[in-house]
Amino acid sequence: MNADFRLEKNSDARAVPKRVAFVKGRTSARVRKEEEEMVMTVPHLVVREVIAFMLMVIVLALLSLFFNAPLEWIANPEHTPNPAKAPWYFLGLQELLHYFPPIVAGVVLPSLAVVALIVIPYFRVNVKRENLWDEDRRRKLILVLSVAGVLSIVLLVYNVYAMLIPTVIVAAIMVTPAFLRRSRGALGWLGSRPLSWWIMTWFVIMVIVLTAIGTLFRGPEWSWTWPWKEIY
């Protein structure tokens, strides 16, 4: 029989995408969802939550028994400590203030970071996790390298080595799979990361590096000071 099509019996929608369904009687025509294994919330989830909370309180209590919260001398507007430091979660920003004018470090960059975080889910994401370099390799490579290049030059001009070095390293790791094509192993895994993954990872590394430098490595006049040296 010379037919234009071949009839295949298969219930896997991915293997046989075009399908003819015979709908019998009162059954409705819809693809059956794959059933996931379910457990009862009480006790399986609630017990875990209670245990996690209790462990956390125990850890906090132990911490509070052995380490006291800092309390310095009474506030004195006449006497400025050197350096005057904000709380640790703002020290990344304060570190930026060391390199860039206040408007950039204190307003533009943090606002950009928050806006960038907010818009993440509104961009089309690489749902199928295809390899970033499979299509348009040349165009993408030029784009990535020029963005990383311009960024590096700006950072070099302002002498921001704390950001320059991690940026160069991340960019180098990002483009490596474009030259060494592998489908498995670490390189294969890196090659299949979408663009948003690279931007977020770069951002997190920046936050950690800048916060760590501002917290641990800055002394009087915001000069480089090793953490084992007393600063006050």
Binding site: E36, E37, M38, V39, M40, T41, V42, P43, H44, L45, V46, R48, E49, A52, F53, M56, V57, L60, A61, L63, S64, L65, N68, A69, P70, L71, E72, W73, I74, A75, N76, P77, H79, T80, P81, A84, K85, A86, P87, W88, Y89, F90, Q94, L97, P102, I103, A105, G106, V107, V114, L117, I118, I120, P121, Y122, V125, V127, W197, M200, V204
Partner: protein, 236 residues
């Protein structure tokens, strides 16, 4: 022992509080969730996958847990603290040396606050790297980012209250950064926050009100929406 307990759980008084029997069958286990105000944020059944520790690391739940710890210790600290330049620092010293367990209370509040900033950030990373912000959960991610900002602001407004050198200069550095917002807007925002041009009495009262009332209430409302949407979108 068993029998009196059974009798108690069958009594009218018990039943008026808990409208279900002991969670011994799947039916009563389900009832234990949806007849309970606190547990009804959860569905009666959850995917086995989402109960696994390595799926979420419990980071969101623990952030909420830290918030509870902070509300409880914070309420107790409020009993001993007066937000005025004359008394604030003295009250901190009293907490250290006079109030029973005062130092412990303050330590707990302080470390839980630092932990919460880190925990919420880690929760955000987990959600990003597991791709859990994808539709239909886009807007819940946005609420989450706002909650992170609120967490940092809560921690920061509390930072001034001890009125020691650390507090005073920490806030001075921060509000000086705000001043660099262009078009004279920065000056205005900073004036609004401090109730003046310098960190003084007015700033202390404003930060106290923000820290103990405005920000926690706003954060609680947002948390309610956040959890509700997690549940509506098929989470735990």
């Amino acid at each position: 022992m068993k029998e009196p307990f059974r009798a108690l759980t069958r009594s009218q008084a018990w039943r008026s509080v808990f409208r279900h029997g002991l969670p011994l069958s799947n039916r009563t286990r389900a009832e234990a969730v949806f007849y309970n105000f606190f547990l009804h944020v959860h569905p009666t059944k959850v995917r086995k996958r989402s109960v696994k520790l390595t799926y979420t690391w419990g980071l969101g739940g623990l952030s909420a847990g830290l918030f509870i710890v902070l509300v409880l210790t914070g309420a107790l600290l409020m009993l001993y603290y007066r937000p005025s330049v004359q008394q604030a620092y003295g009250d901190m010293k009293d907490l250290q040396f006079v109030v029973s367990s005062g130092q412990f209370l303050r330590n707990m509040h302080r470390w839980a606050a630092h932990a919460m900033v880190a925990m919420v950030f880690l929760h955000m990373l987990r959600v990003f790297y597991t791709g859990s912000y994808r539709p239909p959960k886009e807007f819940n991610w946005v609420i989450g980012v706002v909650l992170f900002v609120f967490t940092v602001l809560l921690s920061y407004t509390g930072y001034l209250l001890p009125w020691d050198q650390l507090a005073y200069w920490g806030i001075s550095v921060g509000t000086n950064m705000v001043r660099s917002v262009p078009f004279g807007l920065g000056e205005r925002i900073s004036y609004l926050l401090l109730g003046g041009n310098i960190v003084g009495e007015n700033a202390l009262v404003r930060f106290y009100v923000l820290h103990c009332f405005v920000l926690p209430v706003a954060a609680m409302v947002l948390m309610g929406i956040h959890f509700w949407r997690v549940r509506k979108d098929g989470g735990v």
